[in-house]
Amino acid sequence: MKLAEFIISPILAFIIGIFLMGLSRRIMARIHRRYGPPLMQPVIDLVKLFSQRTVSHGPIFDIGVILSLAGTIALILFIPFGGMCPLEASGGLLVILYIMLFAPLGLALSGGEGANPNISIGISRKFILSLGYEVPFILIVLAVMTYYHTISAVDVVKAQSSFHWALFSLPLFLPGLAYILIIPAMLGIRPFDLASAPQEISSGPMAEYGGKYLALAEIEHAFSIFITIALFVDMFLGGSGNVVYFFLKVLVVFIIGLLINAVFPRFRTEQAVKFLWKWPSVMALAGLVIVLAI
């Protein structure tokens, strides 16, 4: 049973992630009053990319992108997801926080060897942005961990069983809202798409990617969309023992997040950081203070 989870959960996560990617393009298009690509478009893209031949700049160029995806897949195993959590007793949320680093670091290393000036700029922006959203994110996670007095994600989910959802508890309401605000930043989508800004620095860290590199990066992106939202669901919406139910929660959160943020233009790097350090951080901090006060 446990062994099956190791295989099922990444595959399900991949499917959901790809689906959400397709969905997001669709919804964005609708908001922009376009028709938009079909839902399967990301899959089609992947197939196409994998069949292409491309260039490489050196071993780290390869290793970095593999590392990035491998880390993200491994991360799935630590996240409670529809009753599954293959590696529950291995460090909990703190490990999740750290393994989330694999993806950006791998991409950055890989891109670094690409030596394209756009990549340098992109990486720099990506890291700065991460510094920006990590402040509220850490505060949020800390609030949750302190509130439930555990560092295990599974325990957090358990504590919210029978609809004691954290989002609707007094202390964790504000952190939950803050999390929604920073989701786009964590995913690097509008209005926080400054790292990959295609029009400006030709996709930033991914500027030198083509073929399978781009494909792996896209898969990684799909995974991170899922992970980011799954974490929210686990921490604030009580997770779920049921995969379908879990998926629904993810879907709802994703769409809400998309709708809130679709209308914003792109931030400049400093603006983004300042924004992230201001509103979401203050909300999360307030939550943390309330948690401590209780």
Partner: protein, 616 residues
């Protein structure tokens, strides 16, 4: 083999090395390496031994050496780094001036650090401490130029520290009329909290200075960046940890965990204040490190920040925190030494460590890059490196101990760490290779070897943290902490366990999967760096680096906030003192009449005090 013999070998060998250097440089190098290896072997053989023996009588006091697991742990770190840095020196220092002196001082500092951790009383601790201080001063000054100011700053602060130590030591003596650590520890339980607090504060000044705790840190950035790289490795890796050792000794051995918990309460307790200082030590230096452009300076500031983690863990006073702090001390010793050595290797080959002018060296020094990468990952606390485990322990104890703000600072500091660690990687190794570095070569073997050893340690302790944690647990228990459920793969606990083997296997498996997918796709074509984006067009050969000023936006945000206020304050203080001193000597006007009047003044004061105020 007794402890005395070890110290005799260490000090005597140092002088022997110096004398041999006058005969033959080659023999000197061999002896130096051999000596450090012998010391390492002896210290390793000491494992598990405990005992205390008096070795000489100084001014009527018995000086004693003692060994227990705590001192063994520090000693093995000292001996390891000592031998590795000596090996690293072989080629790094080749052709520089005064090598005999350099090796002498390296070995003396090494020996004195062993003396510190093995000393069983406060006097011998002080003696070795001072020998270490002046030896370090001479080594820091070795590079001339700006190193001189750094050395002076270091030694002045060091003397301030030893002044505080002397006062603390003698106030203990005045109360207990013994200098033996164990004796004092056994008698101190009856002392009043106020007294203990004053002693602890005095000791904290001493150890805080060596340990570069924030308001006392200002010597470190200059000293670390200006010292020769192998010595920077020692300095950052182990020498500043002598302060950590001092903190452990003074807080948990001398005063003891029980008495410590009664020093104040809540946020105003001693250990909590220390933890807050440690948190500040993490936060501010991390961001100052981010703004540096000199690789060694980045690492220097980073050392301060990492030391903050160590002290944070130790100060919080739980068994998890203590284990985390102690483990982080080992880890920091390994990865920071590795990083300093790697930067040293780059500097050795390129002649610069300016982050804004380097770039693309990965093509020329892939091995060094890998080492730097491992070191940087350890520094970040990346899973599968040892830094992760220790930080995890610290975070966990902070979160569960209801100190989320400290935890936040620690975690946030880690994100700052990611930024500067990546900056080092990127600016030195990534990006374009400037024209002038087209000819650099890989580091020589004697540099590679210590780096390999250190990187193995980093990875090994990252995957199997139980090895050191078991030792640390023994120490913790001996100091009165609760025992931890240590396994070879981490820590088992009901509030969230750690299993590094799981993490390792998860990542390994996903790696293999992804790698298979990657291999299944069509193979890619290897091209030159600038072939793609420049599309074959002319690329200017001069400065075409986009690595300069790497995090410009964040600099703009944090610049007004991350100023080393303390350093500015100290510098202003030093300036004021100097002005005051200058004014003082204006008293000697050179005029004979005034001088005679000074004499009469003294007499008049005496007479007036007696006759006018009837004082005596």
């Amino acid at each position: 083999m007794s402890l005395e013999m070890l110290l005799v070998i260490a000090f005597g060998g140092a002088f022997l090395t110096y004398l041999l250097g006058k005969l033959s440089p080659v023999l000197r190098d061999i002896l130096a390496v051999l000596l450090t290896l012998v010391i390492l072997a002896i210290v390793a053989l000491f494992y598990g031994r405990t005992g205390e023996s008096s070795f000489m009588n100084f001014l009527g006091f018995n000086l004693s050496l003692r060994i227990n697991t705590l001192s063994w742990l520090f000693a093995i770190a000292v001996a390891t780094l000592g031998s590795l840095s000596t090996i690293f020196s072989l080629s790094y220092m080749k052709g520089k001036e005064r090598l005999d002196f350099y090796y002498l001082m390296m070995l003396i500092v090494n020996a004195s650090m062993l003396g510190i951790v093995f000393s069983g009383d406060l006097i011998s601790f002080y003696v070795f401490w001072e020998i270490m201080s002046w030896g370090t001063f001479l080594l820091i000054s070795y590079n001339r130029g700006p190193a001189l100011a750094a050395g002076l700053k270091y030694i002045v602060m060091s003397i301030v520290g030893s002044t505080a130590y002397l006062l603390g030591m003698f106030s203990l003596y005045a109360s207990y009329s013994t200098f033996n650590i164990a004796d004092i520890a056994s008698r101190i339980s009856t002392a009043s909290p106020g007294y203990l607090l004053s002693v602890l504060v005095l000791f904290s000044i001493t150890f805080g200075i060596k340990n570069a705790l924030v308001p006392l840190h200002t010597w470190l950035p200059d000293a670390h960046s200006e010292a020769p790289s192998p010595f920077s490795a020692v300095l950052s890796g182990i020498l500043i940890k002598m302060g950590t050792y001092g903190f452990v000794i003074s807080m948990y051995v001398l005063v003891g965990i029980k008495a410590l918990s009664h020093l104040g309460h809540g946020i105003l307790s001693f250990h909590f204040m220390l933890a807050i200082l440690a948190a500040v030590t993490i936060l501010v230096p991390t961001f100052i490190a981010l703004m540096q452009d000199d690789a060694k300076r980045v690492l220097a500031w980073s050392s301060i920040a990492q030391v903050g983690y160590i002290i944070l863990g130790i100060a919080i006073g739980t068994s998890l925190g203590f284990a985390g702090g102690m483990f982080h001390f080992l880890n920091h010793a390994s990865f920071k030494a590795l990083l300093f050595m790697a930067i040293g290797a780059v500097e050795y080959r390129t002649g610069t460590r300016d982050l804004n002018s380097l770039g693309g060296i990965i093509k020329k020094m892939p091995f060094t890059f890998m080492m730097t990468l491992i070191g940087a990952l350890g520094l970040i606390g990346f899973p599968l490196t040892n830094g992760f485990v220790s930080k995890w322990l610290i975070y966990k104890t902070l979160i569960l101990g209801k100190d989320p703000f400290l935890a936040f600072v620690a975690l946030f500091g880690t994100w700052g760490t990611i930024l500067y660690a990546y900056k080092i990687l990127h600016n030195i190794f990534m990006g374009q290779l400037p024209e002038e570095y087209k000819g650099v070569e890989e580091a020589p073997f004697s540099m590679k070897f210590p780096m390999v050893i250190l990187s193995i340690i980093i990875i090994l302790f990252g995957i199997l943290p139980g090895i050191p944690l078991k030792v640390i647990n023994v120490i913790g228990v001996s100091l009165g902490f609760k025992s931890l459920a240590v396994n070879i793969w981490g820590i088992a606990s009901d509030t969230g366990a750690l299993n590094t083997i799981n993490i390792f296997s998860a990542i390994l498996v996903s790696w293999i999967v992804v790698w298979l997918i990657f291999k299944a796709a069509p193979t890619s074509l290897r091209v030159e760096q600038d072939n793609n984006y420049a599309a074959g067009s002319y690329v200017p050969t001069g400065r075409y680096l986009y690595t300069a000023n790497f995090y410009a936006p964040v600099y703009r945000i944090i610049k007004p906030y991350v100023i080393d206020v303390v350093d500015i304050f100290y510098m202003a203080l030093a300036g004021a003192v100097r002005t005051l001193c200058d004014w003082t000597r204006r008293m000697y006007t050179g005029e004979l009449g005034s001088y005679v009047m000074y004499i009469m003044l003294f007499l008049a004061v005496l007479i007036t005090m007696r006759l006018g105020f009837n004082i005596w």
